[in-house]
């Protein structure tokens, strides 16, 4: 009961925080602390957002963004799972690829934008190159750790029962690596969206990022802020969906089971 009322007051405070923020923003624009031309008050921004919700161009931009995002994320996951499993399971490969991985991983993917444009022209393919380059590492590293994390007791037990290496993959490696993989996908999904938007802003691939640039050039500043809110909402929804999938896929796992029991 107590925790219930605590929860309620937390939600109420959270709502108050959001409303307070909007109120301060509105006042700041009205009083003139911020330039209302470039930073329009929330009433105008949400009015613009409302009218865009009825506009097909807006939804097409979201569709385009989600297309690039999902293709990029999909390619990254596929590559990361295959390479991560192979390299993670073969000690020889793990030792010999380590230095190269440690060197390539911190390279900012925006650095390869010119290479991507050079190779594919200003298209979705170029955007996908930077999305995959950034997202791949997030998933790959998790798979690498996950595959290496197999419990030695379980491994030895399986071995002493004479279970072959091909059965080990689905029964031992997969359950161990799955939580890592899903963590990687969750991190990767956020990164993929960041780089998708980057591709739209810089390369000019269709999507919400390019729509934002177009609104800015047209001087529709309320529209610019509406796109920023759209992008934030999109990121939150994607995160929420992946959390739900995480719960479903790992219902058997300690980390999720523990939360449910408590």
């Amino acid at each position: 009961m107590r925790s219930g009322s605590g929860m309620l007051s937390r939600v109420l405070l959270g709502i108050a925080g959001v409303l307070g923020f909007l109120l301060i923003w509105q006042l700041a624009a009205a009083v003139g602390w911020i330039n209302a031309k470039y930073v329009p008050p929330p009433t105008e921004v949400f009015a613009s957002l409302g009218s865009q919700l009825l506009d097909l161009q807006y939804w097409r931009a979201i569709g385009n963004t989600l297309t690039t995002w999902s293709i990029g994320l999909g390619i990254s996951i596929a590559l990361a799972v295959v390479l991560g499993t192979v390299i993670g399971l073969v000690p020889f490969l793990r030792r010999y690829t380590r230095s190269t991985i440690e060197f390539l991983r911190p390279i900012p993917s925006v650095a390869i934008i010119p290479i991507a444009i050079m190779s594919f022209g200003p298209n979705r393919e170029a955007s996908l190159v930077i999305v995959v380059f950034a997202t791949f590492w997030q998933v790959f590293i998790q798979v690498l750790y996950g595959v290496a994390d197999v419990d030695p007791v379980a491994r030895d037990t399986q071995r002493s029962f004479g279970i072959g290496p091909f059965q080990r993959l689905p029964h031992l490696v997969l359950p161990t690596a799955l939580p890592y993989l899903i963590t990687g996908i969750r991190l990767g999904a956020t990164v993929a969206l960041i780089l998708t938007v980057t591709g739209e802003l810089i390369i000019g691939v269709p999507g919400i990022g390019r729509l934002l640039t177009q609104r800015a050039t047209a001087g529709d500043y309320a529209g610019v802020y509406a796109m920023v809110i759209t992008a934030g909402a999109l990121a939150l929804i994607i995160n929420l969906i992946i959390r739900v999938i995480e719960r479903r896929a790992l219902a058997w796992h300690q980390s999720v089971r523990g939360e449910v029991v408590l």
Partner: protein, 274 residues
Amino acid sequence: MSVSETRHIAIPARRPRVPRWITGTLEVIALPILILGAWSISAAVAPNNRFPSLWEIGEAFVDTWFGPNFFIDVLPSLGRLSAGIIIAVVVGIALGLLVGSVQWLRSLLEPVFEFFRAVPPPMLVPLLALALGISDQAKVLVIVAGAVWPVLLNTVEGVRAVDSLQRETARAYQLSGARRVVSITLPSASPQIMAGVRQSLSIALILMVISEMTASSSGIGYQILVFQTNYQYAEMWSGVVLLGLIGVVLAIIFQLVERRVLGWYYGLKGAERA
């Protein structure tokens, strides 16, 4: 049977063992040499101006970035990057300590902060360019505005998870507020804070490059796009190498700092595992 077994055991012993340092070095350099070798061979066999030889890229690297451009592009970029990172980390930790220790403040502000963190940071670049123009301050502010959230929210989370026994002991000993923060809250939140800083670093670097690519007339990001549109491929590749090196150096610095700040923490974890 027993003879063959003896022979079996004897074989590996007779083979001369390769010293550990040789295999160790080989592990580190074999694949990079293979990749660079393949690059050189393909550049020699099938010359392609889009993929210049390593020598040309190296030459372009020195000529492009260590001439006058070092002061026009490289130093300002690095300056904005480090200013942005430092401000983001300091503001993030300070604000995070405050918000994390006051419960109603945390409930009040967390949803707003979570939303700010969710917005893909590159969207902020045109936004702030509109409001503030294309000055140095605007670029630093873009970096801060994107990189502050992981530090801030992780600090809030870390402060919340401070061991209640430690907190109450500190209160019982009547430690002053500042002492409590420095000797209890900060150390126990530091693993979370460092995890946030790591995310912030990569966001900061991305934002530095993007802000130079869109709203700028100087900086490393601006230059490599210019090289690309002018078909100066060796120069473009040298810029990519430079940005890559900055990323790698940043990661190394972070690791050194992390080892100093969190040495006790990893020691503790190691002891627990053993």
